[in-house]
Symmetry: none
Subunit: 156 residues, 2 copies
DNA sequence: TAAAAAAGGTGGTAGAAAGTGGTAATTCGT
DNA sequence: ACGAATTACCACTTTCTACCACCTTTTTTA
């Protein structure tokens, strides 16, 4: 991968046409990949996720292996790919959010970007706060499992 | 690791742009790492935590292994990484606090730095005092639980 | 069905805001 | 009082925002 693990939380604003400018902090981290392709998709939670193409390919390789004659598999694949779109940065480092996706995530004028594990999640500020204000129910258990050396229990 | 375990409590002041100068006491302890990268993140309490990059990498290496198709894992990773950003000292040994993080910790003009276990916690003076005063737990009992070999109660 | 109108998308830019770098002035400890 | 450390500024650069102009596609209407 030509870019390092992405990090950071940014607040951006959409223009009248639903575009946002990629914050320079992320541009720097993306490095050469700035001019490459991205895939934007609905997240499992009420957010959108932006993947640099190589990350997307890695993530979806497993899904693409699934046997689609299996009904469950087919359902999952369809659910996962619903609305995934390829996007690129324009000459002013902007991305146009597909309308239906923005609506799905209740993103209107302001948006929070939060990057981790090679991906960029996009949230409406309201939804983001909702998620972040309360720590996950079993957070301390998980922290113990993941960080406390209690390996067996952590789902890997 | 090229720096010794960090120690000390410092009060610093932010300039108009939200920057603070790393106290010389910490600079000395950081040694060669002064010119390296740091990661700043929200802490579990209402504070921020600054990690020298090697420390951060060690902590996050396990998190980056998690399977993010697992809902619990995803919640944990997102919560853990919320806002983590890479920062460096500028030529005058200053660090610019990301705005959203400063707000999270109610850090405005003054800030307390407290170092231990290879990391530096950053507190608003008000929150810091609150946390230190309210200490309802009998410290010696806690010490016993954590360090006294009374394992059953410690990991909670 | 064609013309007109509206909506959606692309590209660019000026002014404002935020970030960066430097340094003079002040404080602090010895 | 002196040097080191810290704080408070100022000047400059980059980034961000809010537009406008134009092109393309879709919808409406005569």
């Amino acid at each position: 991968m030509s870019f390092k693990q992405l990090l950071g939380e940014y607040e951006v604003r959409l223009d009248g046409k639903g575009r946002f400018r990629m914050p320079s902090g992320l541009l720097t981290q993306l490095g050469d990949w700035q001019r490459g392709n991205f895939v934007i998709n609905r997240g499992f939670e009420k957010c959108l996720v932006l993947y640099p193409e190589p990350v997307w390919n890695e993530i979806t390789s497993e899904i693409n292996e699934l046997n689609l004659y299996n009904k469950k598999n087919r359902g999952f694949a369809r659910y996962f790919f619903r609305g995934a779109s390829e996007v690129t940065l324009d000459s002013a480092d902007r991305i146009l959010l597909p309308k239906r996706l923005a609506e799905y995530a209740s993103i209107d004028k302001d948006m929070i970007l939060t990057a981790y594990s090679g991906r960029i999640e996009m949230w409406s500020p309201v939804e983001y706060d909702k998620w972040m204000e309360e720590e996950p129910v079993d957070f301390s258990d998980l922290a113990d499992e993941v960080l406390g050396g209690n390996k067996e229990k952590a789902a890997e």
